[in-house]
Subunit: 114 residues, 2 copies
DNA sequence: TTATTATATAACTATATGCTTATATAATGA
DNA sequence: TCATTATATAAGCATATAGTTATATAATAA
């Protein structure tokens, strides 16, 4: 019905708005292949730690990512049980791989493994 | 290369940002099935004409839609030759049909045909 | 030509966004 | 316990965004 469709399209718009930021979009593309922690993204984007944390917060609040603590670090990963996973995955699938960023992280000895 | 990917993901983010507004997203979903003019969208969204025009302008500037004059009206339609058509189409495909809005337009005698 | 009609643009406003620096919190491990 | 480290939050700022009303433009049709 109309109401149901309205709600869905509004929700989809919210998801797309979140993905409509180049930093968050790149984060999501990276997370699709590698769990990462905040400090790794700080390194990758050359951006302040609070800025990264705030982006992750938005993604987490929307249910797009989830967190898991491992030792000192909190690793983020993409939630597979989000109502719009399919939308998100199809968007991410259309993007070029960002593996080079993780490779560079490893090369610089900044990749966290645990 | 990194530069190429950077550019692409940045462009995709711009497209997604445009789609990340509920009004524009709904417009695009409607346009996927029906060419429409500004005054029809004014009717559908109950929003001022300039507001609709400004949204269409953004979509046009990004190359997502094109215009064609027919009599009094300028009809907008989705451009099939946009570099991110595939991204756009896959997003729109995941949305519920908005045909009811056009049906209501017809029922109210506000649908423009020419 | 001139009136009408559809659309575009200008100017403005309120709110949202993305970033920064400074500070707080929370967990680890010595 | 206490220092360290990673992350989160607060506060502030500059810019972007989405809407409004008022006005301009452009095409049709009388």
């Amino acid at each position: 019905m109309t109401v149901q469709e309205q709600v869905e399209i509004v929700d989809a718009a919210k998801v797309l708005k979140l993905l409509g930021d180049k930093t968050r979009l790149t984060m999501m593309k990276i997370l699709a292949d590698h769990d990462c922690c905040v400090c790794e993204f700080v390194e990758i984007f050359g951006m302040s730690q609070p800025s990264i944390s705030q982006h992750m917060r938005k993604l987490k609040d929307a249910g797009l990512v989830e967190e898991e603590r491992r030792g000192h670090w909190i690793f983020y990963s993409i939630r597979e049980d989000h109502p719009h996973v399919q939308l998100v995955e199809s968007v991410l699938a259309s993007l070029p791989s960002q593996d080079d960023k993780v490779k560079e992280l490893i090369k610089g000895g900044k990749r966290i493994c645990c």
